[in-house]
Amino acid sequence: MKNDTIDSHQPARNTNLDALRRLSPYLKPVRGRMIGSAVAVLASMMCGLLIPLVIQRILDGPVATGDTSALGWMVAAVGVLGAAEALLFFTRRRLISGPSTRAEAELRKDLYHHLQRLPIAFHDRWQSGQLLSRAVSDLSTLRRFIAFALIFLVVNSLTLVIGLGVLFLLDPMLGLISTLCAAPLILISTLYESRYAVLARRSQDQNGDLATTVEESVLGIRVLKAFGRGPHLAARFAEQARELRRTELRKVHVVGLLWGAIIVLPEIAIGGQLLYGTFGIANGTMTVGTLVAAVAVATYLRWPTDSIGWLLAETNQAATAAMRYWEVRDAEITITDPPVPRRLPATARGHLRFENVRFAHPGSDTEILRGVTLDVRPGETVALVGATGSGKTTLTALVPRLVDVTGGRVTVDGVDVRDLELGQLRRVVATAFEEPVLFSASVRENVALGGTEVDEDDVRQALRVAAAEDFVDALPWGLDTRIGEQGLSLSGGQRQRLALARAVVGRPSVLVLDDPLSALDVHTEAEVEHALRSVLRDVTALVVAHRPSTVQLADRVAMLSGGRITAVGTHSDLLAGNAEYRALLSTDDDARSEVVA
């Protein structure tokens, strides 16, 4: 569950705000609407502020003097201002609904785009729950921030300033009282911000961990059921959920303190103004209307003031969300197209060479491959054998550049794979992984996957090669049947054959098959082998094998041991001449003799 990339982050104020600032390209195209929306809020606030002033006129004018002739237009002014305020409310929301939702969608799209290009090494390290919580809950936090908090942060501060200005105009002393009471806001919010930021970050990370546990609980449901460990995991989940609850409660505490402190301030101001105003009226230096207007304005300023706490919380939350978002977006795509791609020669067909290839996992100092040199000639099939954990899978992943070598090079038709355009390389090289990776989509989608140029005939032909056509046709909707998540509504052998069909469908010139027949019975294996042979005749293939039966597909066998190819030859030569190979592959063991005896 540990994620070293995540734990190390100390939310610092500047970086937090930087993370928010970096969102601006997403808002640029909709800048007009954002500004329009802010103007609408501001205008509506102005209307709201003007209304008390008109009321003042009414109270000091017609009401005080008893002359109602001007009352009509004054009331009309209140009505018009009120209607304008309402309309501006509407305008603001309508203007911002588009930009905020669009920005969210764009951010998500770009995140997905980036994630799909990040190397496998990244995905092995990052739990999908953490990625998911960024793509969903962090982005919706950002959407809310853009739609509400961002604009109000600007507008409320402005309103506060303007409102204070109005108060100063009404009476400098009244303005001063409000200003004095607003000043501590700055102090309070700085004090609280750093505390809140830490909690916001923790809660968002905990949310990600929770999502991870949920994901594991469903994907591993068979194991959990088989061992009856559902309750065990549920207890772990409950513990995590309780931790999240604790964090959230701490957040509530901090926000509560802040909020409490903030709402007292305007009240003190109003109280002070009342006191001052009364003496003013008593001394005849102020009118009742002015005092009522001042109190009304001060009341009106309550919301912009009160909201500062909430806005700060939202801003903090958004900043943390943005930071988490950029953490992933900033992860480097290490496997990229070369600046100047080379093209494969038109004539040659898949000459695969490993030249002194070395490989160590990032962050680990032990090399798994220590100078592998192997030549697979065009059209040749080479079996790769080696003990469990010897690095066979690692070697196969180098060909389609799921990982890159740390030393030496892999070439196809004489061109270093790192000099080829990724798209082209992966069109030329096809892989079947040791564990079939299937999606909850139709059989057709699963076989064709990214191949846009693949038609139904190709799919069927590939299924035939994998001896899978019969069972696919027997499915309720044939090729269009949706198979369950990870293909789990199919039998093990059926899954493996679909993955095999996928590898052969695009007519690749280099096939890399990682233990492709391990889940097949002897008969089906023979059948697939037979069909594969016809394919392999003109395809270069590297086939990882554990069984003598699979090895027999190959023209030659290479043995991987201690990070090097220690022997290359035909199966029978190696059996006869290499003791290690014999130990690894010969099955003339006690079990067999037991029965035959």
Partner: protein, 623 residues
């Protein structure tokens, strides 16, 4: 396995109620009124069941917010008194009233702040308790649901239920509830205040509520529709994300990226559209409420001013009225916020309650029968079992009987897709057969308590799964609470000890997501050690050694032979070397057991049986 479209195939047409049970209505965007009402009721029932156990906390929060509102309401009243009596008195030199009023105003402010803090704490606790409860309920329920449910539902949807749907409820509890309580109370309180201050003007203001109620109804219907769609769309986004992340190797190696991006763009657009609609509906709503509020203010001013001039109304009352009126309509905005969070949460609860409504097809018995004591192995019997994965689906195992005596090691062989794993999964009670029964020591599995069954029967599934965490933790899953020595002994017994010790952190090495830090064979060894540690009476191994190299497999077999001596075991393997250690071999073909005998007998089958043929092919492959 399901139909190509999203709609579940309705093989039978049950009553309207049954048809929408559980998660059936999830992907349907247009619901008829009856079904819609039923789903809403379901959500509300769930909400009520979450609130009931902590009703007192809720009431405390309510009391706090009521008091806070009363205290805050006193504010304008103080101002009115100040203007009406405080100021005139002060002019006359008597400042007592003024001092009381201003002091009262300040006290009200302070009290309000303290009450607000208390309310936030209490309601925060309430909300978090509700969420914790719901999270645990949904998680626990998802764990209890049967495999057949999960096969169709996908992990992404469960994740979206437990994350983004719960977040919606969180929003409701955090902001919405506060908004609702404050709004309802202050609207109510102010309304009373207005009526008391001046009846005719008060009534005038209250008629303004009629259009507000109408527009609220309109808003509720529209936003509900929009929010149902956002829930559906976000779930699709999550499913797509999860599947992509888990299948990243295939995505990259087979250039699936751009197709995936266009799929996601579709869902993203759907989500964006629905969210925008919800926001737009909200825009119209708040505008109407504001408009009504401001127009009534103008009206009150017109009438009030005339009446003051004519001497029918105190100036202070009019002042208080205008101040109250602003406060009357502000909470209505909060009410809108509440309505917004509420519809969103109800849409989310609809999905969550759907999952909770699903009943496991494999249920823990209400009154379990204890298994008779057994030293080591247990007998496994199939009586007239017929099996299909879904009603209406093809029969995978036609009716058959099978008796495996205690202590016997049985190997299942046969072509892929023959039904071997299915038989094994029935023994581990992943599914219940629709007809016939599977029994353990003579007791129908359906009446064995789950905990007892899992102690007695353990299955290593064909698709092994490691959890992120240390190697030791993964092995310990076989028997939580096992000591480190026991864990190491289990690993040693299956020959995994050597490679584990070679890992940088030994047994504490984090195997990473799905065990990605290990090779396929190493993962199998860990899974094997896990079963070994569980030490069950009946061990079911489904291709547990398929990715091992031959010497390792042989070591595992030797370990097996000693372990299985007195245990019942069901072994599925394509490598006949594994099969040959069995006491008995069953050949499965098209779901039927077509041959049954000891390996030696079957190999020597005179008529050239299937196993004999398999054996021959295998021998040839070794040559």
């Amino acid at each position: 396995m399901s139909a190509p479209t999203n709609q579940a195939d309705q093989v039978t047409t049950p009553g309207p109620d049954e048809q929408w049970r559980g998660v059936a209505a999830e992907d349907v965007t247009e619901l008829d009124a009856v079904v819609g009402a039923r789903l809403q009721k379901r959500s509300r029932v769930l909400l009520a069941s979450l609130v009931r156990p902590r009703l007192w906390t809720a009431l405390l929060a309510l009391a706090l917010v009521v008091t806070e509102n009363l205290v805050v309401l006193a504010g304008p009243l103080m101002i009115a008194i100040t203007i009406d009596t405080g100021i005139p008195n002060a002019i006359d030199g008597d400042t007592a009233v003024l001092a009381w009023c201003v002091g009262g105003y300040l006290a009200a402010g302070l009290g309000g702040a303290a009450l607000r803090f208390a309310f936030l704490k209490v309601s925060g606790r309430f909300g978090q308790d509700v969420l914790l409860d719901l999270r645990q309920r949904v998680f626990g329920h998802a764990q209890r649901l049967s495999l057949s449910f999960h096969e169709d539902y996908t992990s992404g949807k469960v994740i979206s239920r437990l994350t983004s749907d719960i977040d919606s409820l969180h929003d409701l509890l955090e902001d919405g509830l506060d908004g609702l309580l404050t709004a309802v109370l202050s609207v109510f309180g102010i309304a009373v205040m207005l009526l008391v201050l001046d009846l005719p003007l008060g009534l005038l203001v209250l008629t303004g509520l009629i259009p507000v109620v109408l527009v609220t109804r309109w808003f509720y219907l529209r936003s509900r529709y929009a929010y149902r769609n956002t829930r559906g769309a976000i779930a699709k986004i999550i499913v797509q994300f999860v599947e992509t992340m888990n299948g990243m190797r295939a995505v990259q190696a087979f250039r699936r990226e751009s197709r995936n991006e266009s799929i996601l763009a579709g869902f993203n657009d759907e989500f964006r559209g629905a969210n925008k609609r919800a926001l737009d509906v909200m825009a119209t709503f708040t505008m109407t409420v504001r408009l009504v509020g401001n127009l009534s203010l103008a009206l009150v001013l017109a009438i009030g001013a005339v009446r003051v001039v004519q001497g029918g109304l105190e100036l202070g009352v009019l002042t208080a009225f205008t101040l109250y009126l602003r406060r009357f309509y502000d909470p209505l905005d909060e009410l809108a916020m509440f309505a917004n969070s509420y519809t969103s949460a109800i849409a989310a609860l609809e999905k969550i309650s759907g999952v909770l409504e699903e009943r496991p097809t494999v249920v823990d018995p209400a009154s379990p029968v204890a298994l008779p004591p057994a030293k080591t192995g247990r007998a496994v019997t199939f009586d007239g079992v017929e099996f299909r994965y879904s009603t209406g689906g093809p029969v995978v195992l036609p009716r058959f009987d099978l008796a495996v005596p205690a202590g016997q090691t049985v190997a299942l062989v046969g072509a892929t897709g023959a039904g071997k794993s299915t038989i094994a999964k029935l023994v581990a009670r992943f599914y219940d057969p629709p007809s016939g029964r599977v029994a353990l020591s003579g007791v129908d599995l359906r009446s064995v308590a789950d905990a007892e069954l899992r102690r007695a029967v353990v299955m290593v599934t064909q698709e092994n799964f490691l959890f992120a965490g240390s190697v030791a933790d993964n092995i310990a899953l076989g028997r939580p609470g096992a000591s480190r020595a026991e864990i190491e002994a289990a690993a040693e017994a299956v020959g995994a000890d050597e490679f584990i010790r070679a890992l940088p952190g030994g047994y504490d090495t984090d195997v990473r997501k799905r065990g990605g830090r290990l090779s396929a064979g190493q993962r199998q060894l860990v899974a094997f050690a896990r079963a070994f540690l569980a030490d069950p009476a009946v061990l079911v191994l489904d291709e547990a050694t398929s990715s091992l190299d031959v010497p390792t497999e042989r070591a595992v077999q030797r370990a097996l032979e000693s372990v299985l001596a007195d245990r019942t075991a069901l072994i599925i393997a394509h490598r006949l070397s594994t099969v040959l250690i069995a006491d008995r071999v069953l050949v499965v073909e098209g779901g039927r057991i077509v041959e049954d005998g000891s390996p030696a007998e079957l190999v020597e089958h005179p008529a050239g049986g299937r196993f004999a043929a398999l054996h021959r092919t295998w021998l040839e492959s070794l040559a």
